[in-house]
Amino acid sequence: MPVAHRKKRNAPPAEKRVRNAKFQADLAPAEERALRALKQDLQLRSNTDFLIDAVALFRWAVAERRAGRQIISETKSGERRVLVLPRLERVAPELQLPWVEIEWTERELQSLVELATAPEPAPPTPALIRAMQGLPK
């Protein structure tokens, strides 16, 4: 019938239909146990629900850190612990330095190459060690 034929032609092609993404993960036994325990604690039935919640939490953490805020847990007695996750630190604004053009003389560049290509770096000085250890001068 002509009408039925038109409807069929207007339907979106199969390859353009929105499909849910599928994920597959290879987890070590310990990670898999941790995942199961978390799902149980959070009363999540499926891996999909787990992933949706995990992504939501991660998105929030990234947004907070991107805005320059730290993520802190605090006990009732006021003891605080700061969350430091190296991957999360990648979006922290304090770690984004603007790029500037540095003017070098030819002799400076020659000297820089000599310093930078030394097979062994200079050993740390006592003042540097104290600074790195967070000790006073």
Partner: protein, 169 residues
């Protein structure tokens, strides 16, 4: 004392390290450079997070050294971009707080940030532009002079981040 990024309401006008250029930079340019034209980030030492009185400051930026001046063996496998480094452009302590280890604390923070940056975006060295009468202070922290700067300007100093990584913690 804590060290944090410069904020708009910080008291920059009362800062006095005894050097007009360093005072003037903090008063007039540090905030603009950080927030408006993005050519440097300034960190300040203050008593507590909300305090506006600045004990000392330093300014960092990222920069580079031309790829093609390095021996092929050294840059093998690296993209043909400038080799990234951290520029410690300025560091100063308020005169009335001098001798209290604030410069040391600022330098400690420079090292901490540099190592974090190296892990995140990759960079190999810290370069500082030091006043000639302060070269010894930088050398105390392991900075080495880069030969060949103009006699009139600051002395460029070099510190390999490998040295920082070798430090026992």
């Amino acid at each position: 004392m804590i060290i944090r990024r410069l904020e708009e309401n910080d008291e920059t006008t009362t800062f006095d390290c005894g050097d007009a250029a360093l005072n003037n930079f903090l008063k007039r340019y540090a905030w603009i450079n950080q927030e408006k034209i993005s050519i440097g980030v300034t960190y300040v030492a203050v008593d507590e997070p909300a305090s506006r009185h600045i004990f000392g400051y330093f300014t960092l930026a990222a920069g580079g050294a031309p790829h093609d001046v390095f021996p092929a063996k050294f840059v093998r496998g690296l993209p043909r971009y400038d080799l990234p480094l951290i520029l410690l452009a300025r560091l100063a302590v308020h005169q009335t707080h001098a001798g209290r280890g604030i410069g040391h604390a600022l330098m400690s923070e420079v090292f901490r940030i540099s190592l974090q940056l190296a892990e995140v975006v990759g960079c190999r060295w810290i370069i500082a532009d030091a006043y000639r009468d302060r070269i010894g202070w930088y050398q105390k922290y392991g900075f080495l002079p880069v030969v060949g700067a103009s006699e009139k300007g600051p002395q460029r100093m070099f510190l390999d981040l490998r040295t920082l990584r070798k430090t026992p913690l």
